[in-house]
């Protein structure tokens, strides 16, 4: 029998809150952070809103040796990992190096760093490209830098499956914990709000072109017309439950109880999307009946067809309006790989505090038969949360987050 994989530490970097409790109080207050892009001049682009993290000064948190070699997403990831370790009461120096690993997800790598070096290449020549470009852009760089900074030599890697990757990384971490590595830093931080990242995202044709921050990202609303990109995410300390207990972990937020990922069938196959199967298989993997689920954190694509697929999948598995559904990401924008780990962190806090945070800005379309939590947060005991995430190109993933067993 496999021991449980539990969450013992959380590190959050979100547009509406840098740090766990700052984020959580913003979410409960329904305070969003979507606004006009400030990191570059968006005037000439069709999409102009983003959820940006303000006030992050990397120099305040990281040594100067790391600054010339890191993209913004890596700086945020290193600091979030520090916070997660601190929250878990883990001092990596005191643990065996091979007992700790790092498995993150990444959507696009270090785009801002890469853009700067490409500009140097075009305008000045190859001699002006930083030697650190060799890895600073790379998908796996957050895992690598976190493992180096903290001396973690256990299994490490990266999962790339767009937004679904944030859950797939947690699942991969759980596999490694079951295989015998007791502690894995897992989750994801993405941050590519720069012109190069922007045009790459525009190519999906799923970005909202609205200019009113209060109406730009409204999943499950009749006015849904794409999402607003954001930056940030969360890193989690995952541990074997027995190991966490033996070292006297100061808290266990929750258990990563179930996971499944599916892939949509090819267009024209006549078969439906794979999200429902992901939900059913994750519940089954977690030994959880639909009736036990207290809240669903939706993927919330805000693309009408995708909203319909998700609402239908939820309704088919749980019944019409049978389970509360929420999407706090309406406050941050979609964080790509960072979104689902942030939702898992949020689910942990929902379990801790017995409250479901709201979906903001959206008025539920009458076409969807789901119990969407809008308005104030809903006070209710939460023992089991289901987190959903979909990635561009057909990725579907679901994770069951369950209150720790006594």
């Amino acid at each position: 029998m496999n021991a449980a994989t539990v969450v013992t530490g959380l590190g959050v970097a979100a547009p509406n809150g840098l740090g766990l409790e700052s984020y959580w109080s913003a979410v409960l207050a329904g305070r969003g952070a979507i606004g006009r892009v400030a990191r570059f001049d968006p005037t000439s682009y069709p999409a102009q809103l983003a959820g940006e993290i303000d006030g992050f000064v990397a120099e305040d948190h990281l040594p100067s040796r790391l600054l010339p070699q890191t993209d913004r997403m890596t700086r945020l990831a290193l600091v979030s990992a520090d916070w997660a370790l601190e929250d878990a009461g883990v001092v990596p120096d005191t643990l065996p190096a091979y007992d700790m690993g790092v498995i993150t997800a990444s959507h696009s790598g270090g785009f801002e760093f890469g853009q700067k070096e490409l500009q140097a290449l075009w305008s000045k020549g190859g001699r002006y490209v930083s030697a650190y470009q060799s890895f600073a852009w790379f998908y796996a760089v957050n895992s690598g830098q976190i493992s180096i900074r903290n001396g973690m030599r256990g299994p490490s890697g990266v999962v790339v499956s767009d937004q679904a990757g944030g859950l797939d990384a947690l699942a991969q971490a759980r596999r490694q914990i079951r295989k015998g590595t007791p502690l894995i830093v897992s989750g994801a931080i993405d941050a590519s709000i720069c012109p190069w990242g922007w045009v790459a995202q525009l190519a999906s044709d799923r970005l909202s072109r609205a200019t009113d921050p209060g109406r730009a990202y409204v999943p499950f609303d009749d006015g849904a017309a794409g999402h607003v990109p954001g930056e940030g995410g969360a890193l989690l300390i995952l541990e074997d439950a027995d190991y966490a207990r033996a070292r006297g972990a100061r808290q266990v937020y929750a258990e990563i109880a179930g996971h499944a990922s599916t892939f949509d069938p090819a267009p024209g196959s006549g078969r439906g999307p794979g999200l429902q199967r992901a939900i059913e298989q994750a519940l089954s993997d977690g030994g959880t009946a639909p009736g036990e689920v207290d809240v669903v954190f939706a993927d919330a694509a805000a693309v009408p067809e995708l909203d319909r697929f998700e609402a239908e999948a939820i309704t088919k598995v749980f019944g019409p309006r049978a389970v509360p559904v929420t999407a706090p990401k309406t406050m941050t924008g979609r964080l790509y790989s960072g979104a689902a780990p942030l939702d898992v962190a949020t689910a942990c806090l929902s379990i801790r505090d017995g409250v479901i945070p709201p979906t903001t800005n959206t008025s539920l379309s009458r076409h969807y038969d789901i119990d969407l939590v809008t308005g104030p947060p809903r006070d209710t005991p939460v023992r089991v949360a289901l987190v959903l995430a979909r990635g561009y190109g057909g990725f579907n993933s679901a994770v069951v987050v369950r209150a720790p067993r006594d």
Partner: protein, 89 residues
């Protein structure tokens, strides 16, 4: 192109700009004969440092330069060998 020799201060500013400074190391201390490795600079940091020296001083350094130049003093000497201004002093 600079018309003065390459000095320890020039090297320190290039190191700081291109690779930063290790927390446990005081670059303003007596580092002339310290090995780069001991100063916290790995091979990629030295590659970046060599690239910056090359473009700022308009010279071309041998790819194997750090096999010979393991300390700031040795690197400064090798760079100055290539600078006409320094040779004229």
């Amino acid at each position: 192109m600079p018309a003065t020799p390459f000095t320890i201060d020039d090297l320190k500013s290039i190191l700081r700009e291109g690779a930063g400074a290790d927390e446990g190391v005081d670059l303003d201390g007596d580092i002339l004969d310290a090995e780069f490795d001991a100063l916290g600079y790995e091979s990629l940091a030295m590659l970046e440092t060599a690239g910056r020296i090359e473009r700022e001083y308009g010279i071309s350094l041998d790819e194997e330069i750090f096999a010979d130049a393991r300390t700031p003093r040795a690197l400064i000497a090798l760079v100055n060998e290539q600078l006409p201004a320094a040779q004229a002093v």
